[in-house]
Structure formats: structure tokens, C-alpha cells
Amino acid sequence: MSSLTISDVTKRFGSVEVLKGISLRIESGEFLVLVGPSGCGKSTLLNLIAGLETITSGEIKIGDRVVNNVRPKDRDIAMVFQSYALYPNMNVRQNIAFGLETRKVSKPQIQATIQRVAGMLQIHELLDRKPSQLSGGQRQRVAMGRALARDPAIFLFDEPLSNLDAKLRVEMRTEIKLLHKRIDTTIVYVTHDQIEAMTLADRIAIMKDGIIQQFDTPQAVYDNPANLFTAGFIGSPSMNFIPCQVTRPNTQTGVALDTGNGKSYFLPLERSGLELDAWVNHEVILGIRPEKISHGFVEQEASHHIHEIESTVEVLEPTGPDTLVFVHINATEVTCRVNPGHIKAPGETMKLMMDTSNALLFNPETGERI
């Protein structure tokens, strides 16, 4: 159990700068998820924490100890790999024992550890099998067992669920979360799957192009994305981005919407005013999540954030509990989440309610929040 502090870390491979000044800190026992598209540097960052790569500049601290020049084996970490990386020539028991034997742990203590880990992950009956005789889920379990055996200060997970099928992935996700509750150890977890990130993390670091775009709790990242990238990355289906112009036809400031067929609307935005007033008659990007455009909301009579628009249904995508309705607003495709009982057929005009209470505005040039 240990905190992890990363200060201004950069990493170059030749002339390519993969990480451009990463700083973050998590407390002991926290679950940190590094998430981002492939090539964003998240796996490199994990390898730096593990000591499998050396950092170009900056500082990594585990607890109060600077580990920049400490070898992986002396960093008191354990890692679970995407490919499981079980030693193919050893059975499960030997796989779990290998790290302990290397560290010259006594035989009876190794036996006790194997029993403890096997009990925790329910892999007793697998102990004498070779990795090739295990299914994907079992291999994943054993790989976690091997990490658990060492009782490290920090666990590192490198996309551990990517090789599993969809159903197993959800099961293992829950299991990892339960495991974290039970052992209460600091975890750094790399994934490209934003749902995994949302469900598992205490805190999420969203990365792109070697820079942390946002570092916050899952709900905060969802509700208050820092820029266009994080807004679009987190959430499924992803947030709608509608280019529109800020206008001030009367005392209210808002944006102009055109839903086709000559129908145009004014959408007032309740903001403290000043910073938005500077944007009057300029183009901005309105960000609004699909669940905020629907056939209606329970509190719509009372709320002054909810506004009615009409548009032509283009495509329907049923998901079961909701149906995704695609319409065009300002010549941009917009996804709306509608109860299946209220949908209209493609080609028909449909009344939609837009809840602007959580609507966001972005600067179209920089992608930053306004």
C-alpha cells in the first residue's frame, strides 16, 4: 500500500516525444485508470511506473521513495499483462511461486501464499495445470493470482480484459472491483475502454498525444469534461457536438438551431452571462449528451431548461431500454435517446425535448470549454 506521485515525467524514443510532461498523484488505496485511444502513451506511462522503461526527465515516487533509477524488481510492484504472460513451461502453482522463489521466500511461506491466493481467486483446482490447459478467463485469474502473491505496494494492470469475450469481460470487471475493495491496494489500470474506466476507477486520467487531458473522478469527468476530446471520449453513445452561433435576440443569450425544413429555434442558455456575452455572433460548439434530448422529461413542466424542437427522424437504432434516434440539427447528425414507446418512423417529424441544464459550450478553434 502506497501513494504514487508522478511529477513532470517525459519520455522520448529517439526523436519522438511519447509523454510530454505528465503529472499526477494518487493516494494509497486509490484505483487510478489511465484511459485514451491507442498511441496516447498510457501503456508507456505504465511501463515507466513499472520500471520496464527508463524515464527521460521528471520524477516518479512510490510512497516517499523516488524510484527513477530503481529496478523493476525492487519497486515493490506487481503487474498483470494483456497477454497474461504466464510462464508456459510451469504449472499454475509454479507460476505463482516463481516471483517468491526469486526473492528467496521460505518454502512453507510460499505454500501458505499459494493457498491464500488460490482461495481468494478460487483457483484451487487449477493449481497443477499448465497455462495451455486453461481458458482465457482462468488464465486471467492466474495472472492476477501471480500478482497478488507478492502483496505489492502498487498493482499495475495493462489492459487485462482486452483478450476476453464480452460477457467474461463484464464478469471479470466486477471481480477486479471486488478484489480492490477487499485488498484495498493502490491500483493503476490501463485501458482503452471508457466503460471499464468509468466503472472501475476512483479517478480517471484521460490521455491523448502524451498529455493528460483531464484527471478527475468518473462522475466529474462525465459531467464536466475539460475539452472536446474528453467530452467525446467518455460516454456511450458519445456526446453530440452541434456547431452553432451565439445570439442575443432579447435579454437572454443563447444559440441558434436549425433543424431543417425551414424550422429554426432559439435555445436560451442560462449562464452567469459575462463570458458568454463575449461570444455573441461567434461560432461555438454546443455539447449535449444523447440522454438530454428525448421525447420528454418528468420535470419538463417546471423546468425552464427544457425546450421543445421538431426535427425529421433519419435513422433508428434500438438498444432495448432506449432507442437511439438520429436527426439533423445545424446540418450535424445528432443522437437522441428516446423511450421505444414514443418513437416515430424514419422520415416523420418528431417533437424532441432538449434539456440544456448540463449543456456545454466549446471553443471551436482550441476545443477548450467556454
Partner: protein, 296 residues
């Protein structure tokens, strides 16, 4: 017959049957073609000289005798010494075992470093090493002779071992390196985090999964070194000649009559070890050659 699948139906057409017959006929002819020399050698080696003089090349022996084998092994004259190829056979064994063992082990270590502990310039290093596969034997005869002389191991088995190890390393390194790049790098990362160092990872993780490529390397090196004639004739002394050189000398030593049965027996003895290795380990050889070609 609507319930028959198209494949079965096709199998039974006269054309398909005729095709099968042709294929088998060609295969049988090819097998006979390749086996006849061996057959002639074996039956000649168990004939008496009288039988050979009067009979046909491929006729069955009138009297089966192992005298020619005994003579080839223990009493045939090679140059002025009449002690058979026995001593030379053991020379070859003494040369092959250390050469194969050393070149294979060092090749494994090279391959391990070049695939899993890459260093600056390791790819260039590997390309240079590969050039070694294309250097003809003749080119290095003179420089190698002078090197062996300076090292004080000219005309000895130790010298031959050195030559074969150096020459074999390019091949063994290539084998092992290409095998190890198919092993996931995560395995080494996991072992590093588990606290294992360079040698512990090599012994405990990498070597145990290397059996197929070891078999390939051993068969390849064993065949190359056992069958080598040029280095054997150039770098050996009179008491360190390998069996290939002795066989040549035996056949060329004329004391009146050419003893075909003894020559044949000696040739078979000289070829037997490589034959045995193929029979024992041949299936691993094929498996090893194709390992990594197909995933799984």
C-alpha cells in the same frame, strides 16, 4: 445419389481414381530412385569380393558376410596405417559433440539477447552476423589456418571445434533469434517484475520453451559438421582427421585390388550418425522449422 456430398462423389469418379494411381506411381518411382544407391551400398557391403567380381551390381549376395564391415571398422589400410576408420570415427565424435553443443548454446544466448535484450545497434549487429551465413568455406581457409597457428591449436581437434563453432554461430543465432521473436515480450517483462535477472530468465523461462528450435539447431549443426570435408582436410593433423577425410583416404589407398565391399561399409559407417539423428529427431525437425510460421 442426392445424399452424397460433392467431395465424396468426386472422389469416386474414374478420373479421380486414375489421378490417384498416377500420383502413387510417381511417388513409388521417386522413392525407388532415391533408395537404389543406398540399397546397392548395403548389399555390396555384405558381399564377398568374389561375389562382387562375378555378380551383378544389384544382384542379391550369394553369401552374406560382415567381414567387410569388420575390416572397414578395424583393419582397413588408410595411408600407411592399417587400423580401419575406427579412430577417425571417434575423432569425428570428439569434434562434433563439443562443436554442436557450444555453437547451439552460444547461438541460443545470442538469439535471446538479440530478441529480448535489444541494445543500440543490435539490429545492425544481427545483419552483420547474418553475412556469416553467406561466406564460402574456401574464403576463410588461409586466415583461419594462420589464426589457429597463432592460437597453438593448429592440426588438432580443438582447432576444428573452434572453426566449426565460429562458422556455425551465424546459423544457430539466426535460428534462435527468429524463434525467440515469436515469444511474447510480456513474458520477459513479467519475469523482470518477478525479480528474475538475465540468466534466471534465460534458464527458467526461455530455455524450457526452446526444445523445437534446439532440435533444429542440433540436427543442422550435427549434419553440417559431421559431413564437412574441407575444414577437416585443411585443419586436421594425421591423428585428428575426421571420418570424412579418412573415408576419402581409404578409398584412395590402393594396394592392388579395390575392395568395393569395404569402401561401401566404410561409407555407410561414416553416414550412419546423421541418418540416425534424422530418424530419431526428424519429426521435431519439421515441427521446429515451421514453428512460428503459424500462430498457435
Amino acid at each position: 445419389m442426392p445424399d452424397k456430398s460433392p467431395a465424396t462423389a468426386m472422389y469416386q469418379t474414374p478420373g479421380a481414381i486414375f489421378g490417384r494411381v498416377v500420383i502413387y506411381a510417381i511417388l513409388i518411382i521417386a522413392a525407388i530412385y532415391f533408395l537404389i544407391p543406398l540399397f546397392v551400398m548395403v548389399i555390396t557391403s555384405i558381399k564377398t569380393m568374389a561375389d562382387i567380381r562375378t555378380g551383378q551390381l544389384i544382384s542379391w549376395p550369394r553369401e552374406v558376410t560382415l567381414d567387410a564391415w569388420k575390416e572397414a571398422w578395424a583393419t582397413a589400410c588408410i595411408g600407411v596405417k592399417c587400423a580401419g576408420i575406427k579412430g577417425y570415427f571417434w575423432n569425428s565424435v570428439k569434434m562434433v559433440i563439443p562443436s554442436v553443443a557450444i555453437s547451439t548454446l552460444v547461438g541460443a544466448a545470442n538469439g535471446y539477447v538479440l530478441s529480448m535484450w535489444r541494445f543500440r545497434g543490435s539490429d545492425t549487429f544481427f545483419s552483420c552476423l547474418l553475412l556469416g551465413c553467406f561466406i564460402p568455406f574456401q574464403v576463410i581457409l588461409l586466415p583461419m589456418a594462420s589464426t589457429l597457428g597463432r592460437l597453438g591449436i593448429a592440426q588438432s581437434i580443438a582447432g576444428l571445434v573452434l572453426v566449426h563453432v565460429v562458422y556455425g554461430l551465424a546459423f544457430t543465432t539466426l535460428f534462435f533469434r527468429n524463434f525467440y521473436v515469436t515469444i511474447p515480450a510480456d513474458l520477459v517483462k513479467a519475469a523482470k517484475i518477478d525479480g528474475a535477472g538475465f540468466f534466471r530468465i534465460f534458464w527458467k523461462i526461455i530455455l524450457p520453451v526452446s526444445t523445437p528450435i534446439f532440435v533444429v539447431s542440433i540436427i543442422w549443426q550435427m549434419t553440417q559438421i559431421w559431413n564437412d570435408f574441407l575444414f577437416g582436410v585443411a585443419f586436421s593433423g594425421s591423428d585428428s582427421q575426421p571420418v570424412t577425410v579418412a573415408l576419402n583416404n581409404l578409398v584412395n589407398t590402393s594396394t592392388g585390388v579395390v575392395k568395393y565391399n569395404v569402401d561401401m561399409a566404410a561409407a555407410i559407417i561414416a553416414g550412419l550418425p546423421t541418418l540416425c539423428v534424422y530418424i530419431v529427431a526428424g519429426k521435431y525437425f519439421l515441427r521446429g522449422l515451421t514453428a512460428g510460421a503459424v500462430k498457435g
